[in-house]
Symmetry: C2
Subunit: 261 residues, 2 copies
């Protein structure tokens, strides 16, 4: 397999970096090819601005999606972005590894998505009209590739449980799993989550590494999250609302977008 | 009133910036004091790293929460972060204005939260033990202040409706409204959302500005989102799970954390 890690933690001796090292070593020992985008180490530029679009006239009005589309189509994105897009094309499996900060990803990783997921590459793909609103949510550039999140949290699993005060981890990660990974076509595997990494580090680490290595062994067999594809009859067009009656009794909120039989 | 805008858009002639200008002008005309943190204009540093903590020994292991706590307690955060914290202390109303990119905020704004919301300032406040897990979710440094999001989206309101393929806008914004604003103690007002800003700009803009100015007139009277406070009996401690039977029939997922009578 060809596995790309997109990794976001500032500290080389961190809990997260140790997990990364263990995962990479394990995969390579089994003959897989691995690439790592260690965003802090790369000094990744996070903030979208006019410098990102080499054919944008400096100082003229920047319409981000339009400038992104034109630059992507004309091969005028910056080298750092193009390199990441090439890694994505190369990989069959992409792992986004980060600590959950403020119920989302660190800014440096958000900036990776904001810049690498260009218009025409990860969104704005395919026809957009009254009968077809893009090749997205199950189709697109990343179709046929797997992706998932490997995350750590300070809070406990109770805090992120179904009735937990933070909201459930599945709901917290939905805008990422569904909105950022399934959207450009990835097949999305369930996340690997380690809770309470700030306490009892040794004990928590041992279990976390075990879970991570187990996932590395099962990349090709673990069951994906069964998100409903946009363009195969489940959604009204052009409203893009789920047709009535498709969900199971009791399915509500984000959950209705997962097909359960 | 004392109103702080934290604004994240790279373009001075953008839809968002026009709304900002209109809102600021309107508030000032009525005698309110206004400050604007225009993050792109400030060239805001987004990425948390060891440079953020002036008493952190360079090259030694960086444990982010710990380093943040020590720097915050010892007045060793960087000037840019301290200035933002001072603005927050000054304000009675804070408005986070941004375009929704990938179902969240632009990286530059996420980096504002990651850095300004230091440990001991916005989290890690109060006692953390088996009987009290911090002054958070309704208590904390921001208690008594209002905050809300003013956002724009490319997709239509249907796409963000209850059955919309993106997930509902309320669920998409929950990790921000509840996890980033209610958490440090803000009273959270409903968001002001403008959909489909990329199409029919003139028409959409006129309605958007009207909605924004109406909100500016009603900052002190609009009904907040009635999130349940953590430490007033609704949650089991230390699990921090909502006690059984408190939600209304049909309330599930994020929604159970909103008290409805």
């Amino acid at each position: 397999m060809k596995v790309l890690f997109v990794f976001a933690h500032p500290e080389k001796t961190s809990f997260n970096h140790s997990l990364l090292d263990a995962a990479v070593k394990h995969l390579e020992a089994q003959g897989n090819e691995v690439k790592v985008s260690d965003l802090y180490n790369m000094n990744w530029k996070s903030n979208v601005d006019e410098e990102d679009f080499l054919n944008h006239e400096k100082g003229s009005r920047l319409k981000v999606a339009e400038a992104s589309f034109i630059a992507n189509a004309g091969n005028k994105l910056t080298d750092d972005v193009v390199e990441e897009q090439e890694k994505l094309k190369w990989a069959d499996t992409v792992i986004f590894q980060f600590p959950v900060w403020w119920f989302s990803m660190p800014a440096i990783l958000k900036g990776w998505f904001d810049r690498v997921f260009a218009c025409g590459f990860a969104y704005g793909v395919g026809v957009h009209d009254e009968t077809h609103y893009g090749d997205r949510y199950g189709e697109g550039t990343m179709e046929g590739k797997r992706a998932f999140c490997m995350v750590t949290t300070g809070g406990s699993n109770d805090h992120y449980s179904k009735r937990g005060i933070n909201g459930s981890i599945d709901d917290i990660l939905f805008p990422i799993n569904h909105g950022m990974l399934f959207y450009p076509g990835f097949t999305v595997l369930p996340p690997v989550v380690t809770y309470r990494t700030d306490s009892k580090r040794e004990e928590v680490y041992a279990n976390a590494e075990k879970a991570v290595l187990e996932r590395m062994d099962n990349l090709s067999t673990v069951e994906p999250i069964n998100y409903r594809k946009q363009n195969f009859g489940d959604y009204n067009i052009p409203e893009m609302t789920l047709k009535e009656g498709l969900e199971q009794p009791g399915q509500t909120h984000f959950d209705i977008h997962i097909k359960k039989d």
